[in-house]
Symmetry: D3
Subunit: 127 residues, 6 copies
C-alpha cells in the first residue's frame, strides 16, 4: 500500500532528521506537497531500511555521492547531521570527504569539508 | 620519505587489485610513468590505509562516488573487482548502486548496476 | 497499493518502449529485480502519467536532462526511441539537442545528436 | 549579418526577460561586453526563435537542462521568470522539476524546486 | 555578416583538424546541417581566433575543460589531435591531464590520459 | 622525503596565494589538518612546479577545469587571484571563461565571469 510506504518513510525520516527534517518538509510542502510525499516514500520508505546495508553505512554512501556531485551543499549539510544522528562520528565523516579528493578532486573535497565544518560549529553552539 | 609512500601504496594496490591492477599500471606507465607513480603514492600510499575507515567501507564510499560521477565506467568496474577482493559481497555492491538512484538519478544507478553485472559475469566465466 | 503502482508503471512502460523495454527489464532483472521494480514503480508508476505535463513534453524534458548530464548515452538512445513512440518527431528531438549546446556546451550537444543519429539509422534499417 | 543576429537576439531577450534581463546584461557588460554580445547573438539570436519548438517548450527544455546540471541556480531562477513570462504556469514548472528527480536525483530536484519557490515568493511580493 | 563568420570559422576549423574534421562535419551534417553550421560559426568563427589567447593555449584550455567534464571522450580525442596540429607537444598534453587529477579527480585524469594514449598510438601507426 | 614535499608545496602555495592562502589553510586546519597537509603536498608539492608547464599556463588550465565543473565557485575565485599573482592578466582570465561557453555551456561561463568580476572589484577596492 502506498500509505504504508509513506508511514514507514515518515517514521524513518523523523527518526534521523528531527526538527530540521520537519522544517524542511514544511518548506517543500509549500512548493509541492506531491514531491514532498515522493521524497518520503521512495528514498525513506522504499530504500532507507532495506536490509542490505546498515543505516550508518547508508549515510556514508550518501555523503560520498553528494560530495562527488559537488553542487549539493544543502543536502550535504543535512546528511552530515543525519549521519551524526545515526551514530557516525565526525572523524569518519571527515575521512569520507578526504577520500573524495581522490575520486572527484580537491575542490569537491574542500567544499564538503567546509560544509561539514559549518555543521559541526552550529551543533557546538547549540550545546 | 617518498619511497615509503610508493612502497606502501604499491603493496596496498597489489593486495586488492591482483593481475588486473598490474596490467593497468603497465598501461598507464606507457603514457605517463609519473602519473602512474602519483596514483600509487597519493590514493594508495597516503589515503587507502588511514585508520578512520576500514577497507571495505572505503570501497563502498569509492563505488558511490564513481557511480554518482556517472562517467567513470572503467573505474567503476575496476573498483567493483577491488571491493569483491576486500570481501564486500555482490549484494552489498548492488545495494550501494540502488541507493545512488536517489542521489544521482536512475540513469547513474542503471549504468552502475549494468557495469557491475558485466564484472560479475566475467568473474563467473573465469571460475 | 504498491501493486497498483507497479501495474500502472508496467503498463506505461510497455506502451512506450515495446520490445526494447522488455529486454531492458530482463537485463536489469538479472542483476537486481528489486531495482527493476523501483524503476517501474517510481518513474513510470508515480511520475509518468501525472496530469501536469503531456507525455510528449515529458519526453522532451527527459531528453534535455539526459543530454545535459552528458554521460547517459544508453538512456539517451532509449528515450529517443520512446520519444518517437509517443509521437515526437525527429526534427523536434534534434531541436532539443541543438538547444543543449547553449546550456551544457557543444560536446554534450554533439554526443546527443550523434546518439540520435545512430537510433534513427537503426530504425531506418528495420523498415 | 552579425548586426541582424544581435538585433533579433536583443528583441527576443527583451521580450521575455524585461527589467531583470536589462540589469543582467549591464552586469555582464562590466566584465565582458564581447561575451555579453555572444550571449545575445547565439542563444537568443540564432537558437531562440528557430521554428522547431515553440517558446514555451524551449523554456521547459532549458529548465530541465539547468536543473540537471545542478550548479546553475542563478540561471534556474532567471529562466523560471522567463518561463512564466512566456506563459508557462507555475504548476508546469514544478512538474518539470519533479521529473528531474528521476533523471538527476532528488538533490537536483529539491534545489530546483526551492529556487522556483523563492522566485514565486519574490513575484508575489511585488504584486 | 553571417557568411563571414562561417567562412572564417571553416578556415580555422580546416587549418587545425584536417581530414578528421571534414569527416566529422559530414557526419554531423547528416543529422543536422544547421547545428553543424553553428559549430563552425560560434566556436571556430567567433571564439577561436580572438586575440586574447594564442591557439596553443586555447587548445590547452579546451583539453582541460573536456577532461574535467569527464564524459567528453570523443571530443577529448579530437582536440588532442587538434592540439598536436597547432604545435602543442605530447608532453604538454600529458601534463595538462596530470593536473586534472587535482581538480576533477583521478578517474577523470586517467580517462583523459588513456584517451590521449590511443590517439598517440593511432598517429604512430599512420607514420 | 615527505617533509620535502610539504616544504616545497608550502613555499609554492605561499608564493602565489599570500594572505588569502594562509587564512584558507588555517580554516581547513580546523576541520582536518591531515587534509590540509595533503593539499599542500600533492597539488602544490608534487604537481605545481613540474617542468612541463609554466605557472601561468597551469593557472589557465586550472581556471578552465574549475569553470567547467560549474560548482567550484570558491576555488574559482581563489585561483582567479592566484592567476593574477602569477602575472596572468584580467583580459586573459576573461578570455578563458568566454571559451568555456563552448565546452561547458553559457551558464558555466556566466558564473565564472561573474565570480571573476567580484574578485576584480574586491581587488580594486583594496587599492
Amino acid at each position: 500500500m502506498s500509505d504504508d510506504r509513506y508511514e514507514r518513510g515518515l517514521k524513518n525520516f523523523k527518526a534521523v532528521t528531527g526538527d530540521v527534517g520537519e522544517k524542511f518538509i514544511q518548506n517543500l510542502n509549500e512548493i509541492s506537497p506531491d514531491f514532498s510525499r515522493y521524497l518520503i516514500e521512495y528514498p525513506f520508505g522504499d530504500i532507507y531500511n532495506r536490509p542490505g546495508l546498515d543505516v550508518k553505512t547508508r549515510e556514508l554512501v550518501t555523503l560520498s555521492a553528494l560530495a562527488a556531485l559537488g553542487y549539493a551543499e544543502p543536502e550535504l549539510k543535512a546528511h552530515t547531521k543525519v549521519a551524526l544522528n545515526t551514530g557516525v562520528t565526525r572523524e569518519v565523516i571527515i575521512e569520507v570527504f578526504i577520500q573524495i579528493s581522490v575520486y572527484a578532486g580537491f575542490p569537491a573535497a574542500i567544499n564538503a569539508l567546509l560544509a561539514a565544518k559549518e555543521v559541526f560549529k552550529e551543533l557546538d553552539k547549540k550545546k
